[in-house]
Symmetry: C2
């Protein structure tokens, strides 16, 4: 549900916008939390970097999505937020949002519903990461991200970006996609992938 549908006007008015260049950081793990963020334009990824230097992508947010929901109840961010493209991000100050929850039960409930959806999405991602086979992991992603027709997946960003989001090396992704295409499981076009009809 869009922010403007449940956040009181007073809270909406307290927001501030910020422009980010691709690659620029919105916030980092450990930073003091500012508030709820809504992506107005572009894409922002939430990620963590492990001590081996690898980045684990936790979520990729696009226009209309909110991030840092969990941080409303936490003094510090627990992951990094980095612009994947040039982006505009709107921030609703933490205290204003929390006040809104106290006065507007509907706002709090809508927010809880948003978090509930996040929990479901994250569980899907845990399941995805548990699949070791590149082929099956990709298929899992495609099925979950298919559009209205249930077969077409629109690609956001490059294939390299997709590889990072899937937690695969780009080489493994390229090879697996080529193999899927050879076996007729998918068809590829610029900017999209279409799932074949076989259900097996």
């Amino acid at each position: 549900m869009p922010v403007k549908d449940w956040l009181p006007a007073a809270a909406l008015a307290a927001a501030t916008d910020r422009k980010l260049k691709a690659g620029e950081t919105l916030f980092r793990l450990g930073d003091k939390t500012a508030g709820l963020c809504e992506i107005i334009k572009g894409r922002v990824r939430l990620a963590r970097v492990d001590r081996a230097g690898h980045e684990t992508i936790l979520h990729v947010a696009g226009p209309g999505d909110t991030i840092a929901e969990a941080s409303l109840f936490s003094p510090a961010y627990h992951c990094d937020a980095i612009a994947s493209t040039d982006a505009v991000v709107r921030t609703y100050p933490k205290q204003v949002v929390l006040d809104a929850f106290a006065r507007e039960p509907k706002a709090a409930q809508a927010f809880a519903a948003t978090l509930a959806r996040q929990v479901m999405a994250l569980r899907a991602r845990v399941e995805q990461r548990n699949i070791r086979s590149a082929r099956e992991r990709i298929r899992h992603y495609l099925v979950l991200n298919a559009g209205a027709d249930g077969r077409t997946v629109a690609l956001r960003g490059t294939l390299k970006d997709l590889a990072a989001e899937l937690g695969l090396t780009h080489e493994a992704l390229y090879r697996a996609l080529a193999a899927l295409e050879r076996t007729g499981d998918i068809e590829r076009a610029t900017g999209k992938i279409v799932l074949g009809s076989r259900k097996a």
Copy 2:
């Protein structure tokens, strides 16, 4: 936060208890949602089974923990809940809880905070699953689950259970634990593992 600290007395009174034998199912993916569940005794795991037949453990809940929070806003469960041990589960009917949110902003906010913690825990799990090395995945788990002293991890259940929760085969877990012990990174005792002092 315990359920009884934020859920109104009326909602608490509407709960029903259910006993489960180890291995028994509380609910399955696709079942109609009943309400919010609190574990009174024992352990219940949330999991999904992929089409290869592998079970991905999403969460293991113990006494005082709640599960099925996200399902309050969904008509059907999106994963399975299975008792890992003999267990007692208390269910607060969905509508009663949702009504409580509408009347008690504090309840809704406490619930949102619970969901926020879940989101953080799930992100940690995504990060964990992104680590391919058994050794590093185990270390990641141990650090995140260390007790008050920051070094001791109490084991719930068998090592085999731990392997399943970590998404490793039990053989890989045994071998990695033996290797960690040989190199002095951990010490093992019955029911617990103690991290060594080296920070590298």
